[in-house]
């Protein structure tokens, strides 16, 4: 069983469209995240949810809206897609505890044309 699964793996869409990326973790972790990896591979946090509550919302355009229906799921909805949104989006989760590392999903490569 995949620990953190994201769908879809690839997403090609036109500018102006609205799209969603889904994430599910079966690890029982209480915190989930969305990270964006740009073309230079830099990883930047977008959102952090702890037990369905938004903890971090970095300087992300409000076209991006995360939704956490339960602590095992964190979805990302993007409105009015722009060329600059093209990137790989990673979902991750972590358990409670000071020494706890993240488990990442395999990523969603979003291409806006």
């Amino acid at each position: 069983d995949t620990a953190v699964s994201q769908t879809p793996k690839y997403l090609v869409t036109q500018m102006g469209n609205d799209k969603s990326i889904k994430c599910e973790q079966n690890l029982g972790h209480d915190t989930m995240y969305w990270y964006k990896q740009d073309s230079k591979k830099f990883l930047k946090i977008m959102f952090s949810y702890n037990n369905k509550e938004l903890i971090i919302n970095e300087t992300v355009p409000n076209r991006f809206s995360p939704k956490s229906p339960d602590k095992a799921h964190l979805n990302l909805h993007i409105n009015s897609l722009e060329l600059g949104d093209s990137a790989v989006y990673f979902c991750a989760s972590s358990p409670a505890g000071q020494g706890a590392g993240y488990t990442f999903g395999s990523g969603t490569r979003l291409t806006v044309v």
């Binding site: 830099f42 952090s48 990523g107």
Partner: protein, 113 residues
């Protein structure tokens, strides 16, 4: 503002050699320092991690050296193998509800056969 600075950007090592990647940080509130390994098309995977009360941690061929006073830490890969060719990220975390990781910019390691 990049809180974790990583170098070099790319590294080429012969098989059997030692690979060394360095990171430096400014925020003294960081309390956990993991390294992640990422293969093409995959999400980052936790490789090894250290807390600031320890100066060195070794797991197999991978060693983290930590210098709290200099606010620097490094990853050493002994007996580097072609299968180690990947992108390596250092990271640092401030403990709290979000347990947010701040990543370095990544190092592309190539191990030549």
């Amino acid at each position: 503002q990049q809180q974790v600075k990583q170098s070099p950007q790319s590294l080429i090592v012969q098989k059997g050699g030692i690979s060394i990647i360095n990171c430096a940080y400014e925020n003294t509130a960081f309390d956990y320092f993991p390294w992640y390994q990422q293969f093409p098309g995959k999400g980052p995977a936790l490789l090894i991690a250290i807390r600031p009360d320890v100066s060195e941690k070794k797991e197999g061929r991978f060693t983290i050296s930590f210098n709290k006073s200099a606010k620097q830490f490094s990853l050493h890969i002994m007996d580097s193998q072609p299968g180690d060719s990947a992108t390596y990220f250092c990271a640092a975390r401030v403990y709290g509800p979000a347990r947010q990781l701040t990543f370095g910019s990544g190092t592309q390691l190539t191990v030549l056969p």
